[in-house]
Amino acid sequence: MEQHLDRKNLTEGVVWKKLLIFFLPIAAGTCIQQLYNAVDGLILGRFVGTSALAAVGGSSAQIINLLIGFFVAITSGASVVIAQVYGANRARDVQIAAGNAIAVFALLGLLLMGFGLVLSPAMLRLLKTPADTLEDAILYLRIYFIGVPFILVLNMESNMLRSVGDSVSPFLYMVAGCVTNILLDSLFVLVLGWGVAGVAVATVAAQVLNMGMLTWRLMTTKESYRLSLRELRLKGVYLKNMLWLGVPAGLQSSMYAVSNMIIQVGVNSLGTVVVASWVMTGKTDGIFWAVSNALGAAITSFVGQNRGAGRDDRVKLCVKQGMILATVITLTLSGIIMLTGRPLLYILTKDQAVRDTTWLMMIYFVPYYFTWVVIEVLSGVLRGCGDAVRPVIIIGLGICLLRIVWIVTLFAQIHTLFALCLCYPVSWTLTSAAMLVYYRKGSWKNRGSVIVDH
């Protein structure tokens, strides 16, 4: 752990090299998940069919992102509480706080499961899911919701381990979960022919396994945070603070999820082939976002340390070099995706219509990724300087709200795929411009300044 901290010292050395060293491990971690995502899409798209792909990755995925994403983000608040109690060296209190956190999320998971089992059909209809995929989507979503208590508890547990300094085992368990998921996918879908249900059961099973491993780790550890079943109960003080600290993160995550949901309604209105193609595009798209977000995280850490050390010269260098680095990486990635996209699509699906539509979407999206660079870099810089609220507001207005408005006004009039996809590059460009203006104005400089206590 000591080494871990020291290696992260970013106040010396060549700026862009430090950024790269920091960025690569994060990017590698998220890319593994994206790889799993792609295999998942391959099994569905190639061996089950277009409507199955649309059923699993369309409206269902958006509902999952909104509801589960909200609660998963709240687990970050719970881990702050546990980190605090753990640091105070009170073994018994740590057990109570940990037991409370797990009880809370198991309970929330059960409630959400009930909610999902009952309301899945209604939610999918509300999103105007195409009729020919509706039945599969309901089946998938219902089975998925059975796994929700496990998902919430496993996220709580891995956050808990990370906040007491163990980030290796949650990562290994996650990789094990992804591998299991792919193996079970193959078994249930390719061998047993269960179709959509097979994919859903494989996902739930992998999550149960992942949670099982984390729970076992927590129950057998000799550290003070050892989980004891007797302590699984609610405690008001912890509960209140976990929610206070976690709900803002949940709201932040919902902001995106809500706008994606509205866009999904637009996608759904264009039919099953477009929905399936949207899911396909999302698989390659995910790789870009994994890389971009990793770069943003690297920049936040870099700026945080250098600004703290009063090295504003290095902060300025970081803005400049980060911008160049991000642009180079993004353009390279765009190039690779455009070059390998078509052949890759032949592997991923047998449906010619889906291939063509996906390729069209990629042309609408992929070359314009670079317009996002300014947002990622500058919001990373601003967060590093302690101004976390404004970037969220700018992105909330410029990305999320703008897209919703676009869908209900422009897209409602010009009902084409092009009109839908266009809102992405437009919102990226406008938000980049807004972020640049805000950054240049410099009024954020005071917001992050640490007030001196007397």
């Binding site: 980190a83 605090q84 803002p248 993160a249 945080g304 703290g308």
Partner: protein
């Protein structure tokens, strides 16, 4: 060994009081020394350490786009590690065995086994605001905070501190018996207050 811990409202003058008390008693004094130790240990800057320790919750959750749920979306990063080390540094200080005064950092809770003399320093909001404004005047013009910003800071920091205490004690805050002495500095001359407190503390330690 005798330990005095000073918990305080933001801007109440607890830090000045602690420093003067340490001078009067001739004891060791720990305040930003704790942060400096942490920073030096890891080759980080004290200001950064200070901010990482004050950084709670959602700031660490990245803005994500088409995020799925099992992402590593929370990175406690430095904050959690530094927090653990901060608590260890407090215990190291106590283990030195010298008489000392420790400002903030919830030392009264972390070091409760040492039975410290626990002081809570508060002041009226206007007095705290005036004190902060006075200090702001010494800063360069462009970095100076407005009255509104200071008030917001006062509220935010007090709120964070109260929440941390709640988490650490497992009880709702406002427990009067949590301190041996609570003092409102409004209207006091800090020098005179220091004398009174010094006598009080010495008497208290004699009784133990």
């Amino acid at each position: 060994m005798r330990i005095i811990t000073i918990s305080r409202q933001f801007g109440s003058g607890g830090r000045e009081l602690g420093k003067r008390l340490a001078d009067r008693l001739g004891w060791d004094y720990y305040d930003k020394e704790i942060i400096d130790t942490l920073a030096a240990e890891h080759g980080l800057d004290p200001e950064y350490v200070k901010r990482a320790l004050a950084n709670h919750g959602w700031h660490n959750v990245q803005l994500t786009y088409r995020n799925s749920f099992s992402h590593l979306l929370y990175d406690p990063g430095h904050s959690a590690q530094l927090l653990q080390r901060e608590r260890e540094v407090l215990r190291d200080i106590a283990a030195l065995g010298n008489d000392c005064i420790i400002i903030g950092r919830d030392a009264d809770l972390i070091l409760e086994d040492y039975h410290p003399f626990r002081i809570f320093v508060c002041a009226d909001l206007q007095a705290r605001l005036a004190r902060c404004m006075g200090h702001e005047a010494n800063r360069p013009q462009e970095e100076r905070l407005t009255e509104k910003q200071i008030l917001r800071n006062i509220r935010r920091i007090d709120w964070n501190r109260a929440n941390t205490r709640e988490i650490l004690t497992g009880k709702a805050s406002g427990d009067g018996s949590a301190f041996e002495l609570t003092v409102n500095t409004t209207g006091w001359d800090i020098k005179k207050l220091t004398e009174a407190l010094g006598d009080f503390a010495e008497k208290w330690f004699e009784e133990q």
